[in-house]
Amino acid sequence: MRFLIDVFKGLWSLFVGLGVTFKYMFRKKTTVQYPEIKKPLADRFIGYVKMMYETEGEFAGHTKCVACMACVVVCPVSCIQVTHDKHPDPTKKRIANDFILDYTKCEFCNLCVEACNFDAIIMGHDYELSFYDRADMDMILVKDKKYNDDLYAASRRQTGSEYRPIIAPREREIVDVINKREHEERLKKQAEKSPAQQSE
């Protein structure tokens, strides 16, 4: 008799389990179809480091970073290198020339952003950080916003990646050439256009 009761108890427990899975079969699905739909990120999301630029005033387009090295010192894994130049603004001493961040080392601890006294770097919201090459993971942020954006655009054209503002040193020369050529083409077009405009 006990045996029978055990068997039926066991059978019943199996039915209860089946009920649970059956219940969820018709519930709303919890997953998100990733490349098309992206979950909204939190405001504090830690992606890659982004450089901030002056938006107004005489030096608009220049980086806010004054190469004070606070982030370099605070980084637990020493993944930041900053080279500096003389700042065009006479009231300030230095301006960052290259801000190099090695993503092979970075552990996204946010300490560099917290250490920054000038709000020169923030944490971006892009999280698709995959690379074909180790060398690609050296991210370089530069002092000139326009130049930085050009690099970004050129790199996007080059790699087809929409999320990558990052250019490896060895690619920079290529990108430079591309930009130069484009720049010359633009000049040429302008030169062609300008006589026509003059005629009007």
Binding site: V20, T21, R44, I46, P76, E107, F108, N110, E114
Partner: protein, 404 residues
């Protein structure tokens, strides 16, 4: 549930002056030591489980000597994930250590952060604001829930119920969303810092926690229906890998594994650190010390942790979330300190020795996974290979925590 041991929040369960073992309620108990020995002796052979194996939860290698399907001996081979965190910590400033602890127990990062932060605070006599302590308790308990949910899923998958795995992750994801809301990361938080927490909690976070606490009991009931009550699950776990309390204590087992053996020993209750003496919660414990009881202890702990989060959320005071004036490089006076806390996997200890400079002279982490894993050869002997996987799963190891 009648066999569950609990003790009241008002006083400690055990007296310090009497040896612990004498205070345990006496009872007759038999512990199954593996399956019945067979007359038929078959060829003994060695099998290598891991380092890459679906059930080693990382890169753990088990050298298993088997007779047919029965495990004769089992030897864990560690070190595939060794990253010298103790040595790294000795070469960083006190603030810089915190992000590294995320990488040790990556499923209980908040608790790991807290241990280091508490150690440094004690070493440098830093007073932490009350709001910061409340936030710490909230995030640490949420992390305990997340860790146990993840463990539940992985354990169910070890037993063969693949759906439990996904369900566990589904609820864990909600907690990760909360953590993303307050600290921007989903796995390696680095949120609890020396002198407080990195950033204040947001109203949205509190809303999310409230929502989560509302649905959690339903979901836990579902888990009990799907897994705990399932006759196959009970057959697979009850009596399997049982250890006695005495063995557990002599092997220095802590956390849910110890509580499954009948001793409701929890540092949150025994040596209340932070604000734990203020909250009303129970320490679930069961008697048998087998896989099933480890499962039940953890499932009950989820509910107890939810209770603590509820209370802490209700009592969250206004104020600073971190110490306002904290030197960038803390220079604690010469001395040493040992902090121990109750992490999801057991007792997490940090020993830190200061020589007065900005970097610690010596750091030692006592991680629960490592010591808990040491019982595996004893617990798995005599069981079948399927049980070995179940026992390994029930230990709840995180290889980052084992190898450091």
């Amino acid at each position: 549930m009648s066999e569950q041991l609990t003790h009241s929040a008002s006083k400690k369960a055990f007296r310090k002056d009497i040896p612990l073992i004498d205070q345990i309620p006496p009872r007759k108990k038999h512990i199954l030591r593996g399956l019945p020995e067979s007359e038929l002796h078959v060829e003994e052979f060695l099998m290598n489980i891991g380092p890459q194996h679906p059930s080693t939860h990382g890169v753990l290698r088990l050298v298993v000597s088997m007779e047919g399907e029965v495990v004769k001996s089992c030897e864990p081979d560690l070190g595939y994930l060794h990253r010298t965190f103790e040595k790294i910590s000795e070469n960083r400033t006190y603030q810089q250590i915190v992000p590294f602890t995320d990488r040790m127990d990556y499923l209980g990062s908040m608790n790991a952060n807290w241990g280091v932060a508490a150690a440094v605070e004690k070493l440098a006599s830093i007073e932490v604001p009350e709001r910061a302590e409340y936030i710490r308790v909230i995030v640490a308990e949420l992390n305990r829930i997340a860790s146990h949910l993840m463990w539940m899923g992985a354990f169910a998958a070890d037993i063969g119920a693949l759906t439990g795995f996904v369900y566990g992750f589904r609820e864990r994801e909600m907690i990760l969303d909360m953590f993303e809301e307050i600290c921007g990361s989903r796995l390696t938080y680095g949120y609890i810092r020396v002198g407080g927490v990195a950033e204040d909690v947001t109203p949205k976070f509190i809303q999310m926690v409230n929502d989560f606490l509302k649905i959690l009991p339903d979901r836990v009931t579902d888990y009990h229906d799907l897994i705990t009550g399932n006759v196959i699950f009970i057959e697979r776990t009850r009596g399997i890998g049982a250890i006695t309390l005495d063995e557990a204590i002599s092997y220095d087992i802590t956390g849910p594994m110890l509580r499954a053996c009948g001793l409701p020993w929890d540092l949150r209750k025994e040596e209340p650190y932070s604000l734990y003496s203020k909250f009303d919660f129970n320490i679930p414990a069961y008697f048998n010390g087998d896989c099933y009881d480890r499962f039940r202890v953890r499932m009950d702990e989820i509910m107890e942790a939810a209770k603590i989060v509820r209370q802490a959320l209700d009592g969250l005071p206004e104020g600073d979330y971190k110490v306002k004036k904290l030197a960038r490089n803390i220079k604690p006076p010469v001395g040493d300190v040992y902090i121990r806390q109750e992490a999801p996997r057991g007792e997490y200890g940090v020993y830190m020795e200061s020589d007065g400079s900005i970097k610690p002279n010596r750091v030692k982490y006592r991680t629960p996974s490592f010591t808990n894993l040491s019982i595996l050869p004893l617990a798995a002997r005599g069981w079948k290979i399927a049980d070995l996987i179940a026992i390994l799963g029930s230990v709840d190891i995180v290889l980052g925590d084992v190898d450091r």
